[in-house]
Each structure stands twice: as C-alpha cells, then as structure tokens.
C-alpha cells in the first residue's frame, strides 16, 4: 500500500507542497498540516457545513474530499476573505447584523454564502434560507445570517 502521495495545492494564493496519506481529509490537511484553523470541523460526514471551502471556485465540504483530490487545485478558505483589520463586504455585513454568536458555523456560512451570492440571484429570503439549509447553526442565529446576506445582495456587493 502506497504510504503517501506528493501533492501541491494552492491555498489562498500560496502553493503548498506536502506528502500526505491518501486517506487524509482536505479539512484535516488545511487545519493540521497547514495550520489554517479558520476552517472548522463539525460533523465530519457532510451534514453540518462548518468545513465548507471553495475548490476551484465552487463550495465543497472539505470533510468529503481527500487532500490528494486537491492536488493541483485552487482552494480558498475563510482566511482568504479578509482580516480583522480589513474585512470583506460579506464579513462586514455579518458583523453589522450580529450574524454570529459562538462563531463555530461562521466560516462555513461565509464560504457557502460566497458561492451562493455568485451563483444565485437570491431574490427572496426563502432563496437565502434554502441556500443556507446545508449549514447548521446551533446558536439558532439564522435570522441574522439571512439579514446579513440580504444586505449584501441589496448593496450589489457580490463577492
């Protein structure tokens, strides 16, 4: 059995080379190998959405992808959106609308919302709710998250 595979993954604009076991999940590669702990891991079976990242621009559960599958791909995590000093429009809107309490689901919410805003018109709050239905928030903060995304849609500040 092949112990490790050599991979080169672009994460947030930086190319990382590593030798990884085939079974290593992309989520664990990001967190443990690269130390990018912004991506959170909740359920580890694709239900909670906390580990959502973008792979070649499309949202994906990083617990349902192997790190080896990201070889040669472009991965964007929540760290790519902005910093505390310089938040992007979506992050600012989450801040302004109190769209987080404990913050555990927030990275997944932000990355899912980023993809939703690019792909769907999100004309109604129902559309936003449907789009977020794969991301669980145990603080029951959905109302404010919907408002935060609504504000971004209205401002036409799609990422």
């Amino acid at each position: 059995m092949k112990k490790t595979c050599e991979i080169a993954v672009t994460v947030n604009g930086t190319v990382y080379e590593a030798a990884v076991e085939p079974r290593l999940l992309l989520a664990d590669f990001l967190r443990h190998t690269l130390g990018l702990t912004g991506t959170h891991v909740g359920c580890e079976h694709g239900v909670c959405g906390a580990c959502t990242v973008l792979v070649d621009g499309d949202s994906a559960r990083s617990c349902l992808m192997l790190a080896v599958q990201a070889d040669g791909r472009n991965v964007e995590t929540v760290e790519s959106l902005g910093s505390i000093a310089q938040m992007n429009a979506l992050q600012k809107s989450f801040h302004a609308h109190h769209a987080l309490q404990c913050g555990f689901c927030t990275p997944g919410m932000l990355m899912t919302a980023t993809d939703l805003l690019r792909k769907y018109p999100l004309a109604t709050d129902d559309d936003i709710r449907k789009g977020l239905s794969g991301n669980l928030c145990r603080c029951t903060g959905y109302e404010h998250i919907v408002k935060a995304i609504r504000a971004v849609v209205k401002a036409g500040e799609n990422p």
Binding site: M1, K2, R23, A60, L64
Partner: protein
C-alpha cells in the same frame, strides 16, 4: 470519523479505471463526487483496499445533444445538470428535480453517475432515470454494455454493476411534444433525502393523455414506476376521477417500510398525495399552462 487506510490511484482515462477495478476485484471503490462514499468511509462503513479516483478523467463530464436524445457523461455534476440550458430545454423536470438534491456544496461535487451507482432508495436521480427511461452505458475491462434504467436498480443500494464495472454515460430520449411534467417531494428538512417523491410526465394529444409516466422514490428498496396508474390515465382527459384512481393505484402498488423518518402508512399516504399534485402539474403544463 476518519477514513480507514486505502490505496489510491488517479485514473487518467476509463481504460485505466476499469483495469484498476479488474485488478482489485470487489475490494475497490470508485471515487466520483464522493458525497455518499466519503461519509461511508468516514464512518468506516466501507473499507475498500483501493479507491479509483475518476475525477480527472477528461471528457467524462458532459451534456451533449443528439438528434433524438441527450447524452450525459457519468461525471456530470448535479450543478451542471441544474444549470444546463440543454437539460432545461429538453428535460425541465430533470432541472427542477436536481435542484432538490442536497445543498449547493453537495451539488457542486456530486455526480449523476455516482448517484445512480450508489442508488440510495430515497434519492431523486435514480427516480428521474427511471421516469425518463434512461439507457446506461457501462464499461469494464471485458468490454462495454448498455442497460435500461428499469433493469438497473435491483435492491437497496444494489444495482446491475458487478464491482469491476464503471457507469460511463446516461442517454435520455427526448420527450414528445405536448408533454407536461410534475415533480413533488416531501422532506423533513430542505436538502434531505425524500420521505417520498413523485415525478410524472403526461404526453397529450389535444385533451387526451397518450402517454403517462409516473415514477416514485422513497417508498421501497428501489425507485419504481407506477405502471397501473400510468395505464389507467392513457386514452383519457385528466379529471378528478382519474386523479383519484391514479392515487389509489399508486398506493396499492407500493410497499413502503417504516423507519426512523416515517411510518409505512405515512409514506403510502404521501405517495398518493404527491402523485395527485405531480399529475395535476403535468396536465396543466401539457396543456400549455
């Protein structure tokens, strides 16, 4: 919650993939979108000796129009199906149905070939393949063959693939003119597998139904067609009495099971209600509504 150790190869083409499957025998698993396989690996419900990753096979994800049909490559992602103008034009019922599969992140990764091969008994796409009379192309080291969707789904998560075979393509015959469609699903939560779902098409000639198709999922080990209900609609207009008879025929034709999510009685009830709604929508659309 981490996958067990396995060997891993990236197939560069279908020949490489089926050769690897032939070498590994029943121990291998094909990794397509991974949206069902990866949770099963994380739970260690499966311990394959090798994963054959088909994601990098060029040309396995495509949607192509032929004179009388549309070909769909097995690696076509749900989101591609959902947004394809070609699918929207010829199979609007499929565009509508596939938007009900999981969530965006799932639809970005999940593939039609994976969904049909996995054959979850409450999944939407196996039902749609059955509704639309799909023909499936299957490759193996021994050669290739085709199988009709109606012969493909054998039992719960069991299909006519022997473990060394790879589903490569799905062919859908275009629908006749004046065909209306309906799709109805009941789920506990948005994006869940269906408690019950029904998809229907009605092809009309004037005010008469000349072809009826009704497919169901979530109400048995495999998706199924409601042949009795279909045949009692043909030759008639759709009215209240036909609606009621079709609902009764569907409820009689199925033997749903009780599980954590719903009782058999609830599933049978829902299958009828959804059949009535799907047929009404198909009739309305068939008549240009």
């Amino acid at each position: 919650m981490k996958p067990p150790a396995f060997d891993y190869i990236v197939a560069s083409d279908c020949d490489t993939a089926v050769a690897a499957l032939a070498r590994a025998g029943a121990d291998a698993k094909i990794l397509a979108g991974g949206q069902s396989l990866m949770p099963m690996l994380n739970f260690r419900l499966l311990r394959p000796s090798i994963l054959v990753d088909i994601n990098r096979i060029p040309g396995l994800g495509f949607i192509e129009e032929m004179p009388d049909s549309v070909r769909i490559g097995a690696l076509t992602r749900h989101f591609q199906l959902e947004t394809s103008p070609l699918i929207g034009k010829h199979f609007p019922v499929l565009s509508y149905a596939v938007a009900h599969v999981g969530h965006l992140a799932i639809r970005n990764r999940g593939t039609i070939g994976g969904s049909l091969s996995h054959a979850d008994p409450a999944a939407e796409l196996p039902m749609m393949a059955l509704l639309l009379g799909a023909t499936l192309s299957i490759a193996s080291a021994a050669g290739s063959r085709t199988v009709a969707a109606r012969d493909f789904f054998l039992d719960t998560m069991t299909v006519d693939l022997d473990g060394t075979e790879l589903l490569t393509e799905i062919v859908l015959q275009k629908l006749p003119p004046q065909t209306g469609w309906g799709f109805e699903e009941i789920v506990r939560r948005q994006g869940d597998f269906a408690l019950a779902a029904v998809a229907a098409t009605l092809t009309l000639s004037g005010n008469e139904i000349v072809q009826a198709r009704i497919a169901l999922t979530g109400v048995g080990p495999t998706p199924l067609r409601a042949a009795e209900a279909e045949s009692l609609l043909v030759g008639h207009a759709f009215d209240e009495s036909r609606r009621r008879r079709a609902i009764e025929a569907v409820r009689e034709a199925i033997s749903p099971e009780t599980d954590l999510h719903a009782s058999a009685d609830l599933r049978r009830h829902l299958a009828g209600v959804l059949t009535g709604r799907a047929l009404a929508a198909a009739w309305r659309r068939g008549r240009g509504g």
